[in-house]
Every structure is written in C-alpha cells, then in structure tokens.
C-alpha cells in the first residue's frame, strides 16, 4: 500500500510510457496531418524569492523550524519518530524564527531582485516564446518523426479554462491538433529563509482528434534549470534567468515530440 502512495503515486509518468504499445501505435497509425497550435494567453509567472527582511526571514524560519522536526521524525527509523518530531515543533519554531531573522536577506536586496525578475518576465513575454515553442515542435517533429506536422495559427485556447471545440472550426486538411499550453514559468525555490531557485517552464500538451474533439494523448512537461541564489539570478539585468528560460524551449519541444510521436513503451519498470 505504501509503495503506490509513495514513489509510484507521487511520480508523474507521461501517459505514453505506461500505455500498452498497441494502443499508442494505434493512435499514431491513425494520425494524418497534425496541426500544432499554441495557447493565446500568457503563461502564469511565479517568482520565488527569499523572505523579505527580518520579519520575512523570521516568518520563514518559523515555518522551517516547525516543519523540520516532523520531517526528520518521519524519515527516521525510530519507532514513533513522527510523534517525537511533533514534540520538538515548538522548540524548532522558536529556533527557526531567530535563525530566520538573523540570516534574512535585506529587504532592499529582495525588492531589487523582485523588480529585476519582473522586468525579465516582461522581456520574456515580449519575446513571445509560445511561438518559438510552436516552431521548435514543428521543426523537430517534421525532421524526426515522419509525420506531417504543420502550424495551425489563431485557433489556440484564449484562456486557461477554455476548451476549444476543434470540430466546430474550419481547419481543412488537419485531422489532429497538437495543442500546446505554456502554463507556468519563473523561478521556483523551496520556502526557506534564502533558498536557491531554478528557472522553470511548465507546458501542457494535448493531442486532440478534430472529428470528435477526443483527447488522444495528454501530458504535462516540465523543464528546470540549475539552482542559483536570488542574487545570481538578478545579476546582469537577469540575463541568466532569461537565458535559462529560453534554453528550456528546445528541450521541451524535444520531449513533446519524443513522448507523443516516438516513445515506444517498455515493459514494466523495476
């Protein structure tokens, strides 16, 4: 019971990796011309920064200090470790609060980093990486898969909740749509006093049959850069942050092309 809830249950495995090979190949064998469309809305930006000043640091230190004893207790081989960990929560919270206050990043530095990150996000939005992603998927898909993969512009979802009814649209010659939604991007770090963070991009891809809007394949694909401190990310006008996000696009396109058109599921793991 623990296994499926633990490693198996928490890990996100792309659908094509676990489907029966016959099913995946049946879907692929019925693909004619695939139109690649991309969402019209901008990705949600998430910027994770350190706690702001003494108060911010103390708050995060409190949360850290209260959480760590429970986590350590849970993973320890001592019987009743979690309960023992809970008993140490008040002490951990107090120590964490002082530690957080002492180690906190100065408020001005955090504000500067936030401004820089926001400016970089604006630059990224102006560059419109959605189109870059669409072009990369088309190029890599055409070169590597043997399928006829073409651009399909102006029909992608206008907002995050919209479900496009492709059968209602006039898209002659296209029987399957590969819909790409760039959902989130930014800097992701743990909720600690001064966490390092990774630049990340998350996209959702769906392969949809036009005749009846059936979703044939559906997946969320994720790219994360190396970890750096908030100071590093804001150096040189946020250049590293910008470059890391941009460098994710070809990798994400490769993964979408691999997982949807190329990967042959292997027998069960382990």
């Amino acid at each position: 019971m623990v296994g499926p809830l633990g490693l198996g249950g928490c890990t996100h495995t792309p659908n094509t990796y676990t489907m029966k090979p016959q099913k995946v190949e049946r879907i692929r064998s019925n693909l004619g011309t695939v139109g690649v469309t991309v969402s019209d809305y901008k990705a949600e930006a998430e910027i994770s920064l350190p706690g702001r000043g003494v108060l911010g640091g103390a708050g995060r230190g409190f949360v850290m200090g209260a959480t760590i004893p429970v986590m350590v207790g849970a993973v320890s081989p001592i019987p009743g470790g979690t309960v023992i960990g809970i008993l140490f929560v008040p002490i951990g919270a107090v120590v964490g609060t002082f530690y957080g206050a002492a180690k906190a990043a100065p408020a001005e530095e955090v504000d500067k980093a936030k401004e820089m990150a926001n400016r970089t996000v604006e630059k990224l939005r102006a560059m419109d990486l959605r189109l870059t992603l669409q072009n990369e998927v088309i190029q890599q898909g055409s070169e590597r898969t043997g399928f006829n993969i073409v651009p399909l512009s102006g029909v992608g979802p206008q907002d995050a909740k919209e479900v496009v009814q492709y059968d209602q649209l006039q898209i002659p010659g296209i029987d399957t749509v590969l819909e790409l939604r760039m959902e989130r991007g930014g800097l992701w770090g743990f909720y600690t006093v001064k966490p390092p963070s990774s630049a990340f991009v998350e996209i959702r891809a769906q392969l949809i049959r036009v005749s009846d809007n059936e979703v044939l394949l559906d997946d969320v694909v994720f790219c994360a850069s190396e970890e750096r401190s908030y100071k590093k990310w804001s150096e040189d006008e946020g250049q590293l942050f910008l470059e890391s996000i941009i460098s994710c696009i070809p990798s994400l396109a490769e993964k979408v092309v691999d997982d949807f058109f190329l990967v042959y599921p292997l027998a069960a793991q382990k």
Partner: protein
C-alpha cells in the same frame, strides 16, 4: 543510524511539486510526501528505460537519487542493457518487437553545474552495441550525468525508448534531470 538525506523534502518541493501542485496543498499531497520519505529506503532502485550496467546505479538507503559512482578512466566505457530486453519480448503480445529494425543507441553525457543540472558535453547516436567508450576525455574530479536510449524503426517509422533514469523517476521532466544516471571521474588518472 542510516544516512538520512535531508535534501529529500527540498528536492521534492523544487522538482516534483511544480509538476503536481497547482496552487494548493492538500492532505493527499502531504501523505504522498510522507510515503515518499518512508519508501525512499525500501526495495531496489526504481529504474526506467534501459538500465545501466557500468557505471552501475547505486543508491543510499534514504537517498532519492543515485550516487555519483567513481569511474577509473576519463574515457569510461559505458554499458547498458541491450534492447529489446527479455522482459520486453515476453510482454510483447502484439508481436511489434518482431518487426523492429535498425536498432541503435543514443548516449548523452552532461557535466553537472550546480545541484543536479548539467551542460551537455558529449552526445553520440547510431551506436550499434550496448556499450560505448567515450571518444573524448572528460575532466578529472568532475561529476557527470548520463543517459541512454534505444532508437529503432517499427513498420518504417522511427521510434525510441524513453531515456534511462534511476532513483526518484522524473519522467515528466526534460533531460538532464536529477534522475539521470551518475558517475564521477577520479582526481588523478
């Protein structure tokens, strides 16, 4: 006392949470995290794709990821399971694997930068055998990630296996990621 990797919750939050969490924390997720912590030390090493034979995948009891196994050369001979594996053939009810042709392998090696991300330093495809000696020397005393996949043709169309991963399997994330196979070169060769 077994060695406890305290980075476990950090990595879960940084790498896995963004994939699983959409702006909310719920009890199921917390239960998942707890189970993850408890099961990290149980059983064998979870693997996906073609398994590495050399350098082997080794993992500490409570570690999420595999260890950086020391190799004895700057141009190590990487070895992995040949494709198709006996269990793939056994599971192949449709007979697809009888029709595959032109099996080859693709290998990538990344030098780690910070954490477990990396810069691609070596890539080869079209490899005929399930082993490959690196043709260029790597840097001494450096940690590397690597992975391998098979490429083949099925009914005239190109196909691949998923990238080989071990430990906590980040199959939804592009490579390189912390689940890639790992080795490190010695200081003096």
């Amino acid at each position: 006392m077994p060695y406890i990797k305290l980075r476990l919750p950090t990595y879960y939050a940084r790498r896995v949470l963004p994939e699983r969490l959409r702006g909310r924390i719920d009890w199921q997720l917390l239960l998942c995290l707890l189970c993850l912590a408890l099961t990290a030390g149980c059983g064998g090493i979870p693997m996906a794709g073609l398994h590495p034979e050399y350098p082997p995948a080794e993992k500490g009891i409570f570690a999420l990821w595999t260890d950086y196994v020391k190799v004895d050369s700057l141009q190590p001979m990487l070895r992995w399971q040949p494709f198709p594996r006996p269990k793939d053939v056994k599971a192949d009810k449709s007979g697809n694997l009888n029709r595959i042709q032109e099996i080859s392998y693709e290998v990538r090696v990344w030098k780690t930068i910070t954490g477990s991300s990396g810069e691609l330093v070596y890539a080869r495809s079209g490899l005929t055998f399930a082993h490959h000696q690196l043709e260029e020397p790597l840097e001494p005393a450096t940690k590397y990630l690597w992975s391998v996949r098979a490429r083949f043709v099925l009914d005239g169309y190109p196909r691949v296996t998923e990238w080989g991963l071990a430990g906590y399997l980040l199959q939804g994330e592009v490579v390189p990621n912390p689940s890639c196979y790992r080795f490190k070169t010695a200081k003096n060769q």
